[in-house]
């Protein structure tokens, strides 16, 4: 009844549950469905007869845990291992083994004395939830079989193949392709560091190296003769030419300043701002040249095809549970280093003691913080259409669709409007080399909101991989006003430090211990490993430079 879902396993039932299902099927679930009581927070309980407190059949007590027998509807309590009337019930009545924990609407096997799981039961719970929810399903969208549209990049099959072969043969260097220093033109390490990361983002690299932004054609048709993608593409050619002397990206700087007047100056600049600005400029130029058809709402420029994901924002009314959902595209995630401690999942409190600086110390912690429900302040009461007045609400972010290349930006600056100063948050942030983004997907977040029921939530069953691999880290050292950017790149399983003109080999540990500012992860797909050599890349029969990406909606 539910779609294929890679993110959780369906646990095997105990023999008592299996027996119960055999003998009673869905009868019990369906008959108690009316007793389910849903709270606005997505929790379910059994309320039964509202006029009186449920009491245990054996002792008339109402304390401890109450269990509702699925066969005879009697209630038994369990206060302690010595006073377990639920077990007693299963022993006195033959076959009455499966009950429902009334407070949480969870299946309980009285003989095994353990919580058990059945997708059919969860479906009964979720159906009730969906029926009861104010109007719009509260973000629980049950998706039927939707044809996954596959996004394909325009392939230039023959050219790419030839290009790769040519480059492979000409190589004298034993080093991976594309390692070349970038000269600092005067306070431009912010630009050099981002360039190194972009130069080695495989989809971007392949696009420009196979001349898919055709510079000759562009020069002819471009009216103003200024094209940032052209200049950007020229850098790819220069860096992958095999030349080992450091390259001066002067033309790109000039081009960029022409287009971004507000950022054009010889002064302290921010790498992240440069990154966003570059993507904007590339997008603008491609939109100009080839306006995208808005049929699927997605932009087809290379910048967005590689970096753009979809972020979902749910705002829930605390009183009635009405949820309003919006989705917006984003090219990166900017994460706060909040005041909380490390990995804040419910399950793992094997988390370490907080560091002296008492902040999030792991990237996963930042992602948890990012997707945590946040109570909007009372000065931000939103109008709830169901309650028809302003109510307190909860906001929660999640990722509706992951990009091909995921850029995670750490907000290491702190701006205090009261004290009118900014400072840099220097503490170390642990970041993994391998990252699974599944817990941050909308399907996981929404599922968690409704008690992690076994149910097909929106976005489930998508065949897109959620596993990512780190390939570049832009680090910052020094103070807010004066510091230095350096990028670490992973090529062929070796890490390299790109410090302006100086390319050196470094150990994995150096990278782990560095102060990450922007981390670039790429989807783990069989075709793209950061460890693979460019000219060993298998080319798919259709010549697509890379594997197509499936959409979720």
């Amino acid at each position: 009844m539910f779609g294929r879902n890679p993110t959780y396993t369906n646990p095997k039932p105990c023999k008592h549950l299996a027996n119960y299902k055999l003998n009673h099927g869905l009868n019990g679930y369906n008959s108690i469905q009316k007793s389910f009581k849903i709270t606005p927070h997505g929790r379910t309980a059994m309320n039964g007869d509202q006029s009186k407190i449920p009491r245990c059949n054996f002792c008339s007590g109402y304390q401890g845990r109450l269990y509702f027998c699925l066969i005879c509807s009697s209630v038994s309590c369990c206060c302690s291992p010595d006073s377990n009337h639920a077990l007693l019930h299963s022993q006195t009545e033959n076959g009455h083994e499966i009950a429902v924990d009334m407070e949480r609407a969870e299946l309980f096997c009285c003989v095994c004395c353990d919580q058990v799981y059945d997708p059919d039961f969860d479906e009964a719970v979720m159906s009730k939830q969906i029926m009861e929810m104010p109007r719009n399903n509260n973000g629980v969208d049950v998706r039927k079989e939707k044809s996954n549209k596959r996004r394909k990049l325009i392939s230039d099959s023959n050219n790419s193949k030839e290009l790769f072969l040519r480059m492979g043969r000409g190589s004298k260097s034993c080093f991976p392709w594309g390692l070349r220093g970038l000269n600092n033109l005067g306070n431009t390490c912010f630009m050099n560091s981002v360039l190194q990361a972009l130069l080695h983002a495989p989809p971007l690299r392949n696009y420009f190296l196979s001349n898919q932004h055709n510079r000759e054609i562009c020069r002819k048709i471009s009216s103003d003769r200024l094209c940032l993608p052209c200049d950007f593409g020229a850098i790819f050619s220069a860096i992958f030419s095999g030349n080992q002397t450091p390259y001066s990206p002067a033309r790109l700087l000039y081009s960029w300043w022409q287009h971004s007047a507000n950022l054009a100056s010889y002064e302290q600049q921010d790498a992240h701002e440069f990154f966003i600005s570059m993507l904007d400029r590339i997008h603008e130029k491609e939109e100009q040249a080839r306006p995208s058809n808005k049929d699927d709402g997605d932009c087809h420029c290379i910048a967005h095809k590689v970096f753009s994901g979809l972020l979902r924002s749910d705002v829930t009314c605390i009183t009635c549970g009405f949820t309003s959902t919006t989705c917006d595209p984003c090219v990166d995630l900017s994460l706060d280093l909040g005041p909380s401690n490390g990995s804040s999942t419910v399950v793992a409190d094997k988390s370490r003691k907080p560091s002296k600086n008492t902040g999030v110390s792991t990237l996963v912690g930042c992602l948890d913080l990012f997707t945590r429900p946040e109570r909007l302040g009372s000065d931000q009461k939103l109008y709830c259409p169901h309650c028809r007045e302003r109510r307190d609400s909860l906001k929660q972010m999640s990722i509706r669709r992951l990009p091909l290349v995921l850029c995670l930006h750490i907000k290491r600056f702190e701006h205090s409007p009261i004290r009118k100063m900014s400072r840099k948050i220097d503490w170390h942030l642990q970041f993994p080399f391998s990252l699974d983004m599944a817990p941050y997907l909308s399907s996981s977040i929404v599922r968690n909101r409704f008690g992690n029921r076994i149910f097909a939530f929106e976005g489930d069953g998508s065949d897109m991989s959620t596993e990512f691999e780190l390939f570049a880290v832009v680090t910052h050292s020094g103070k807010l006003e004066s510091g230095h950017y350096v990028t670490y790149l992973r090529l062929r399983n070796q890490w390299y430090k790109c410090d302006d003109a100086w390319i050196t080999e470094v150990s994995e540990q150096t990278v782990r211990a560095s102060q990450g500012y922007m981390m670039y992860y790429i989807q783990k797909m069989p075709f793209y490993k950061a460890s693979e050599e460019l000219n060993h890349l298998p080319i798919s029969p259709r010549g697509d430079p890379f594997l197509s990406t499936a959409e979720c909606c």
Binding site: T188, H259, P432
Partner: protein
């Protein structure tokens, strides 16, 4: 167990009892939630995550140890191709704006003046020209998602000049806005 009507029962006893019941309920609540997460395999990334954390902690210890440090002043080291480079890049090329020959390491400050950009130049710029230029900067609907990409110029992390030469710093870093 019925609630005693006896007035002698202290309030604190009753409160303790209720508190205990509430606490028990919450504990089972959390346990039940964790049980479900564990059984459904929703926490399968825990061990991987812990391994990464352990590796990072190890790495930090190794790197902090001064005897391990091979990273001296990186400006004087030899790169992987066996080359050394001066602190200020000395490649010379032609400025695309004015056609003069410029040293790479001083290209940015030159270009700033040459193009009439930069703080001082901008202050002199007329309102109309900067308004026209602002239309092209970071305004497209697809690209600005303000909650997710900071855009205030105050919140920048800055880079510095590549090291040795004091002149670069003086020119760029400590000017008054």
């Amino acid at each position: 167990m019925s609630v005693p009507n006896d007035d002698n029962t202290s309030h604190s006893q009753l409160s303790s009892q209720f508190f205990g019941d509430l606490l028990d309920s919450i504990i089972v609540d959390v346990a039940s939630e964790c049980h479900r997460i564990a059984r459904l395999g929703l926490d399968c990334n825990l061990e991987e995550g812990e391994e990464e954390i352990r590796l990072s902690a190890q790495a930090r210890v190794r790197v902090a140890d001064p005897s391990n440090s091979s990273e001296v002043n990186s400006k004087y080291v030899v790169d992987i191709f066996g080359q050394t480079h001066p602190a200020v890049a000395n490649e010379i090329f032609e400025c695309m704006n004015c056609r003069r020959s410029i040293v790479a390491g001083r290209f940015a400050p030159h270009l700033e003046k040459c193009m009439g950009k930069g703080r001082k130049a901008r202050l002199k710029a007329t309102r109309s020209s900067s308004a026209a230029q602002n239309r092209y900067s970071r305004g497209s609907p697809i690209s600005t998602y303000s909650p997710y990409s900071h855009s205030t110029s105050v919140n920048q992390l800055s880079n510095g000049a590549p090291g040795v030469s004091g002149e670069e710093y003086a020119e760029g870093a400590f000017e008054d806005p």
